[in-house]
């Protein structure tokens, strides 16, 4: 082979390699794009809900309370008759079966919505008011185009009669899409149109807060000690290896540990953010210690020596000079560790977070769901409406993760000193 031939061959090899690299990046981006597109196309409709503008007649004869009644009396009162009578006026019906089908167009919470409206405007007894009542999830899915309507009737969940009413309501402009406030301020529900991530958001918030309170101070102090004060010998080497190993332990193992120690031995309450937070803290500790130590290591020795030279003690040199300089790296490491903890599901399954929780937790010892677990629970549900809810919750979770990671990068770039 001549020199020229070898040169051409080497250039070709380089070109091939570049092509492989480019191709890999392209493939990776393609997969991300498919995933994101899939989630967004399924999930974005969950942020809207279908409402039916309905005339509600607060007929004094059908009501148990009058204008100006106290809050307790109104909450205690039955609005069933007002609800049924008003809803039945939407379309003429013939027989019980048709009446039932008509009522089923509306959410099961219609009565509660009507009651709450009376509570807010405590002077409308005897009046007719146009209210936007949440539609049932079948109508919701139909209106959003997620449910096929060209099938024969026996294969549909929506009857021909219901379709006829729906079409008439659409023609009259009585069906609208509104912002889905329930999705953000309600807990879990078996009715997809009423299910929300309010409880899961609070649960995740408490878990991460407890995780932060526990893991951050311990991790920072541990890394400062190991990096600055501990003697370098076999014991500290051994500890260092183990911390690195712990960071790679699958998260489900921490779940098992928590099940044994926190639940079985210490008898802490199941399904609570308190236990979740402690479990996640155990998991996050090594993942924070490693970047903390790395950022302490990155502070040049001249800083320490300078401080010592002008008479500072070891403690002063570390806490007045080294730690502040290492802080940006420490913080971004912590944030990335917490972001991982936020998306963790496996250990939470073992400590009983896979639970149906309707009430929104008010303290870390109340039973609660968390965002990733809510995704898991809804993906298992039979009702059609939960498909979009699942994807929408993934979107919320992803956006939290993106924001946290962005914050970590920003902190590092803004405050980190470069030593050249």
């Amino acid at each position: 082979m001549t020199k020229e031939q070898r040169l051409i061959k080497r250039h070709r090899a380089e070109k091939r390699f570049k092509f492989y690299g480019l191709f890999s990046i392209f493939l990776a981006l393609l997969f991300v794009l498919i995933l994101v597109n899939n989630i967004f196309s399924k999930g974005s409709s969950a942020f809207m809900k279908t409402v039916i503008k309905t005339e509600i007649f607060y007929d004094q004869e059908l009501m148990e309370v009058e204008n100006g009644a106290s809050r307790e009396d109104i909450l205690d009162a039955d609005f069933f008759d007002v609800t049924i009578e008003s809803l039945l006026k939407v379309y003429p019906t013939n027989g019980l079966e048709e009446e039932k089908q008509l009522i089923n167009l509306f959410s099961t919470d219609a009565e509660i919505e009507i009651k709450l409206n009376f509570l807010e405007n405590n002077n409308i007894a005897g009046q007719k008011i146009i209210l936007e009542i949440t539609a049932s999830d079948d109508i919701d899915q139909l209106h959003k185009g997620n449910y096929p309507r060209d099938l024969p009737e026996e294969r549909r969940r929506i009857s021909d009669f219901q379709l006829k009413i729906f079409d008439k309501l659409v023609d009259e402009g009585k069906i609208e899409k509104n912002f889905n406030n329930y999705y953000f301020n309600k807990g879990d529900s078996r009715d997809p149109e009423l299910a929300g991530i309010g409880g899961a958001l609070i649960g995740s918030f408490y878990s991460i807060l407890i995780c932060l309170l526990l893991s951050f101070p311990i991790a920072v102090l541990a890394s400062i000690y190991l990096e600055e004060f501990a003697p370098k010998n076999k014991i500290t080497d051994f500890i260092e290896i183990n911390i690195n190993n712990l960071a790679a332990v699958p998260s489900i193992v921490y779940g098992l540990l928590a099940l044994q120690i926190l639940l079985s031995t210490l008898h802490m309450p199941r399904s609570t953010p308190l236990v979740a937070g402690i479990t996640l803290a155990l998991m996050t500790l090594p993942r924070i210690i490693i970047p903390c130590r790395a950022s302490l290591k990155a502070v040049p020795p001249s800083i320490r020596e300078g401080a010592l030279a002008v008479g500072a003690s070891k403690f002063q040199s570390v806490f007045h000079h080294v730690v502040p300089l290492a802080l940006p790296g420490t913080l971004s490491g912590t944030i990335i560790g917490l972001a991982q903890a936020l998306g963790e599901t496996a250990p939470l399954i073992l400590i009983g977070m896979v639970a149906f929780v309707v009430d929104i937790p008010t303290s870390p010892v109340d039973p609660s769901a968390s965002l990733p677990v809510q995704v898991y629970l809804w993906s298992e549900s039979a009702e059609r409406g939960f498909v979009e809810k699942t994807s929408a919750t993934i979107m919320i979770l992803l956006s939290f993760l993106i924001v946290m990671n962005f914050l970590a990068v920003y902190l590092r770039q803004k405050f980190e000193k470069r030593w050249n």
Binding site: R156, I278, S381
Partner: protein, 342 residues
Amino acid sequence: MNKITNLVLAFLILVSFTSNSYSRDQIKIVGSSTVYPYATVVAEKFGKSGKFKTPVIESTGTGGGMKLFCAGVGANHPDITNASRAIKKKELALCAKNGVDEIIEIVVGNDGISFAHAVDAPDADFTKEQLWRALAHEVDVDGKLIKNPYTKWNEIDASLPNKKIEILIAPPTSGTRDAWNSLVMGKGCSKTAKSLYDVAGKKAKKECAKMREDGYAIEAGENDTLIVQKLTSNPNAFGFFGYSYLVANKDKVKAAAIEGVQPSLEGIQNYSYPIARPLFFYVKKAHIGVIPGIQEYLKEFTSKKAMGGRGYLADIGLVPLASDKYKVTRTAALDLNTLKIN
């Protein structure tokens, strides 16, 4: 730094405080994932009535639920466990050993397992033995047990279609698989195979339920929604899941007949549809009066409005009890009749 130490200290005090003086004003329920959708609906209605907190329901599977339920009496242990089969003697013994000796059994209703495929596939009809032959790890051919040789349906019986056998099966942990094992694999197991197992000194019940692992029975995970998706994309594939999934997805999948019977409400109720089973939940009597609301929850669950033929549970796929059985259950719930142990 002082502030952080204070925070940590305050937190640790909180932790030790809560773990010692933990009491509950909220019902805790664990157990079967098959009963979960029904129990959650009742719990939600119960919570909305406003007098009590909404019960917390954890989906742990029947076996896991029994373990937690039988672990003891007290606020740290669940009050109710859902089950897709009756409680076993072993579990009763475990319960009794841990002081849980008064248990109320409530039959919730019936569940049919549908053996389904894509809605545009040609109709099908199987016997239990054919299904066992398609799924078992060993079958008898000419009086001998051999590794399952069938690759196509018409090799099992000439009347069946000339199509590759492809069945999506639920994982061993699920209650649906338990029920399938006892109702289809156990009953469909041929007499020859059973006697051959007996001769070989193996447990026939266990061996009959073992499924093949050569790619014709495909484990599909607990997620029934995913099974429905897979069935729609492959018209040759079959899968099994609860009747409620069939009702909710009837635009995508349809059921095959079993021994000539299509799954239907009536068929599951009187067990003329061959793969039907009752569903249960069990209540710790010792917790009634200690944890508020248990009795009221029982009342709500067993009311006509919930469990009856026109009740809201029937709307989401539960097959209601026949009226004589309903009366027994309702009385058990109102009078708090406990199970006899032994």
